[in-house]
Subunit: 150 residues, 2 copies
DNA sequence: TTTATTATTGTATCATTGTATCATTGAATG
DNA sequence: CATTCAATGATACAATGATACAATAATAAA
């Protein structure tokens, strides 16, 4: 759990929670925080910064909504995996193949044939015609990161 | 002791224990788990899912209270009689569709298109040509399950 | 076999973490 | 002034984790 060295300016007109948001974003961008890293708890950081922990929680929630971190009740908050660009194309491909294997095995385990599994996927993809552009979609999933407290 | 192939989404707002409950219900409903089958121990499943075993225990307790499983201190947890003995074909179909949805969403989360997801599955199914016939799968069912002293 | 010991299983209790809701503050505005 | 509203604080809560415990099984000892 790294010390974030966040510096607040209580005289500023920019709200505390926004200062926290900005500085965490900065730390991630500069590479001081890596995917999977656990952030201080809302109460720890709040004590360090001499603010109410709700203010830290509010900052964390904003960062969570922007998919930069993952806040998990009872577990903590973790830096979320960077969207895509850092993962090599080969690694992405291997992950996709692993997902396909899992889907096939699950279907077989339920007594379906591989052709039925394939047909089910085709049916799903044809019904949901509107396929969101990967560029626009705010990276809903991938959630690889935070479950392991590194 | 079957591997349940439970997949958790730590970023979701639905609690872990509810995700476990839902997926076990699913597995029973579609016939992947039969009366008498022993579930993984709370610690085994917890280690596999990277969560605290109390979380698994909480899920098991909920399933026990709904009379779907029987948790027995010192013995383990076992599938009870299914409330609906005829696992409907519709339920199996719904489960397959849910699995397909998960596969698609995971692929999209990795930045792949739906067509790429489909192609990956097709490639996998073509390479592994040996497909076990569903008819051959013997019902590994409850024939001699570990007598539940309920 | 019988008994004692050890291991494994689920249970109970509390601590820790983030969340939800409302109260308070203080500055902007009329 | 009074009003309003965003920012922050206080409190209660839900989800998860850590630890000790009790019940059952498995094994060893007598």
């Amino acid at each position: 759990m790294p010390d974030l060295h966040i510096q607040l300016d209580f005289g500023s007109d920019v709200p505390i929670y926004n200062q926290i948001v900005a500085q965490v974003q900065e730390l991630v961008l500069m590479g001081a925080l890596h995917p999977g890293d656990q952030l201080p708890t809302v109460r720890q950081l709040a004590a360090e910064l001499r603010v109410n922990f709700n203010t830290v929680a509010r900052a964390y929630r904003i960062l969570d909504e922007s998919r930069l971190i993952s806040t998990q009740q009872g577990r903590g908050t973790y830096i979320l995996g960077t969207p895509d660009p850092h993962k090599s194309e080969a690694a992405r491909r291997r992950t996709l193949e692993e997902l396909a294997r899992r889907y096939r095995d699950s279907a077989l385990g339920l007594g379906f044939s591989t052709s039925e599994a394939l047909a089910a996927l085709q049916a799903l993809l044809s019904t949901a015609a509107e396929e969101p552009s990967p560029a626009e979609r705010p990276n809903t999933a991938a959630e690889n990161g935070p479950q392991e407290k590194v």
